[in-house]
């Protein structure tokens, strides 16, 4: 069924929000939220699709007083735990422990990445990166190369690649947080 043909949510917190609007406005956050629980990158979107399928199925049951994103996060959390429960016992216990750690980190950490037009902020910050940083991101995210291969191409070590990527992401995170704060403020 086409997204735009779906009904508006009954008595949502914002009556203007229909299904398609909710998906469009929350998907970047929800996918990143799922990734933030340690789900491997290649499985993030499968779980996110399940989250939005649940929203589709129970669209009229989302409590009016709950913002759809909060409801979606709750569903995402449960689906992530289900996802890890399918793994072996030891791995499952470790993954559940990690989810617990990341959920606490989300609650205790600064709200910087939680709200606002995060993809737009990322686009703006990405443009400010140095060309060599963008090149490294292209190798990792566009070409999906492992650190070992990137290291060979750049004539450096895999560990140096990991450190460089960590720094670039940290720079982006600071920039996004700053941009979102100035937009919201």
């Amino acid at each position: 069924m086409a997204l735009e043909t779906l009904p508006a949510m009954s008595e949502p917190s914002d009556p203007q929000l229909d299904y398609e609007t909710i998906v469009r406005e929350t998907q970047a956050h929800i996918r990143a939220y799922i990734a933030g629980m340690g789900v491997p990158r290649h499985d993030v979107d499968d779980i996110a699709q399940d989250v939005y399928l649940e929203l589709y199925r129970f669209f009229d049951r989302v409590p009016a007083e709950v913002h759809p994103k909060q409801w979606l996060k709750g569903i995402a959390r449960n689906l992530c735990l289900n996802y890890f429960r399918r793994t072996s016992r030891r791995n499952r216990l470790q993954r559940e422990a990690l989810v617990e750690i990341f959920l606490r980190a989300e609650q205790e950490g600064p709200p910087g990445l939680a709200e606002g037009p995060i993809r737009r902020a990322l686009d703006g910050c990405y443009k400010k990166l140095a060309p060599e940083s963008r090149r490294m991101l292209a190798l990792r995210y566009e070409q999906e190369l492992p650190s070992q291969t990137i290291a060979q191409r750049l004539n450096t070590s895999p560990e140096a690649v990991r450190v460089a990527l960590f720094r670039i992401r940290a720079t982006l995170k600071n920039c996004i947080t700053k941009n979102l704060a100035s937009e919201n403020g």
Partner: protein, 521 residues
């Protein structure tokens, strides 16, 4: 760098890379240093945002959700139908008049058997039930003899005929068939194709099994479940889009011009999402996403320019077979459009001695030829022959040329066979400024054929021989070898091949060109 930092970086690199003992160490470290846990979570979030932005198969999430919901709806409908059938079965059992007491052992046994049968029916009925013959689509155009086979009976198709599920369609080389479904989904089936039409019995979703050949589809938005095109190598799952599928013995090529299509390899259990202006290639050994290009193939291509990639004309070096860029020389009133790089001719002409020489050198051994041209004419009603493009020979004879006089086009190709008369033809649409047309002229198998927008024109010309008679000379655009017969108009793109392009390949090139032109700024 601390051990915890190393573990964090490796975890970020690959969530499944750490051994169980290392994962335990990471967990302990994060518990001991909550700030690190916050930092790692933020890294995971930014990592995913970057993947959402940059990784090809993660860019169309909205379409994936749409597909997921369509799959869900289809499954729900299937379950509903199965439950309905089960109810009908059960009702039939209970409504049957019985003269036996319900306490009888026989009756109990019969009820137990009924229940077992009903359960078996629930799981097996959909698979065992033979397909019901249902109307699927109707014929809107047929060229040549295209047949439909059903229950071993074969009949030629005619316009307006209704097509049914289960019918096998055979379109021999040189024929074509266009069919239309109730929702205006239209499929054009090229000559040389074998396929079977079908419909999902439960939902009514459209199905087509393509054993070989080519189809072009404009699929309306599907409301009862995705339309599926199954080939020996993959299944293309479509909700509403424009696409082209080519099936050979080795692989399946899916080209998407609008919307998005999922290409699944069922045996290998992998899939790719092919978006507009991309193509996907599936074979037993690979599943690959590729951008749409014009021309679709550079095999036998001797010279080309286009507004997409070869903005500066390129010719093939006969020695290395590599491409080189080559600016055309200009004489008189001409311009290269600064936005589109199209050649604009207003009395002058373009030429290149080097390009002409190299086109001749790489083409001389061939017995096929093709010219593709995207142009608009500003000639008006002028009845004087004006030379659009030509390749002069140093012996004073032209290797080929195309000219215009009013609405009539003339094409001449030189071979080492007996010289034929010029081929004169008209296009179905009126030539005019700002009305770009795609014209192709091919030579092969003893015949010259012209195509307008990928469709063969009725006029053909018999011709024999190879291009061995060609002699080196200038490539000329907009005038003849003496700079006379000036042609006024715009040439957006041109490709010269030393092989004969087939009808389906030309149709693909037209589609690709249009798709690329739509997205070019």
């Amino acid at each position: 760098m601390s051990q915890l930092e190393i573990l964090i970086n490796r975890f970020l690199d690959d969530r499944s890379e750490l051994a169980p003992a290392e994962l335990d160490e990471l967990i302990a470290g994060l518990r001991a240093e909550p700030d690190r846990a916050v930092q790692l979570r933020e890294q995971l979030v930014v990592d995913d945002l970057l993947a959402q932005k940059m990784t090809v198969d993660r860019r169309n999430f909205m379409a994936q959700v749409q597909q997921r919901i369509a799959d869900f709806e289809r499954t729900e409908d299937e379950i509903d139908n199965q439950v309905s059938e089960l109810r009908e079965l059960a009702t039939a059992q209970f409504e049957r008049p019985s003269r036996w007491s319900g306490n009888s052992t026989w009756v109990r046994a019969a009820l137990a058997l009924s229940l077992a049968a009903a359960l078996a029916g629930f799981f097996l009925l959909p698979r065992w039930r033979t397909s019901e013959r249902r109307p699927v689509a109707r014929v809107v155009a047929v060229q040549g003899t295209v047949t439909a086979t059903e229950n071993q009976a074969t009949a030629a198709l005619v316009q307006s005929e209704t097509l049914f599920s289960g019918q096998g369609i055979a379109a021999p080389v040189g024929s074509s068939l266009t069919i239309e479904y109730d929702d205006r989904t239209q499929i054009r089936i090229a000559g040389g194709s074998q396929l079977t039409l079908d419909i999902e019995q439960q939902t009514g979703a459209k199905r087509m099994t393509i054993d070989s050949g080519e189809i072009w589809a404009t699929v309306a938005k599907q409301t009862v479940g995705a339309m599926e095109f199954a080939t020996p190598h993959a299944v293309a799952v479509v909700l509403g889009t424009q696409l082209h599928i080519t099936v050979t013995a080795d692989d399946t090529l899916l080209e998407v011009t609008e919307g998005q299509v999922r290409l699944d390899r069922l045996a290998q259990r992998d899939s790719i999402d092919v978006a507009a202006n991309q193509s996907g290639l599936a074979s037993e050994t690979l599943l690959q996403l590729r951008p749409l290009v014009w021309p679709a193939s550079t095999e036998g291509l001797a010279y080309a320019f286009d507004p997409f990639v070869r903005r500066v004309p390129r010719a093939r070096n006969p020695n290395t077979r590599n491409w080189y860029s080559s600016e055309l020389d200009r004489v008189g009133s001409t311009a290269v459009n600064e936005f589109t790089d199209a050649l604009e001719l207003t009395g002058g002409y373009f030429h290149s001695q080097d390009d002409g020489h190299d086109i001749v050198t790489v083409s001389q051994g061939s017995d096929g030829f093709s010219l593709e041209l995207v142009f608009s004419s500003a000639q008006g009603d002028s009845a004087d022959p004006a030379r659009i493009v030509g390749l002069a020979g140093e012996d004073g004879k032209d290797n080929f040329y195309l000219s215009q006089a009013g609405d009539e086009l003339t094409f001449v190709l030189r071979t080492d066979g007996p010289p034929p008369p010029p081929m004169k033809f008209q296009l179905p649409s009126v030539l005019g400024p700002n009305k770009a047309v795609h014209l192709a002229i091919t030579y092969g198998s003893g015949q010259i054929t012209a195509y307008h927008e990928g469709q063969a024109l009725p006029t053909t010309l018999a011709l024999e021989g190879s291009l061995a008679a060609w002699t080196s000379g200038k490539l000329l655009i907009g005038a003849d070898r003496g700079g006379a017969s000036p042609w006024r108009g715009t040439i957006e793109a041109m490709a010269i091949y030393h092989r004969c392009l087939g009808a389906s390949e030309l149709a693909r090139n037209v589609n690709n060109y249009k798709a690329l032109a739509r997205v070019e700024p």
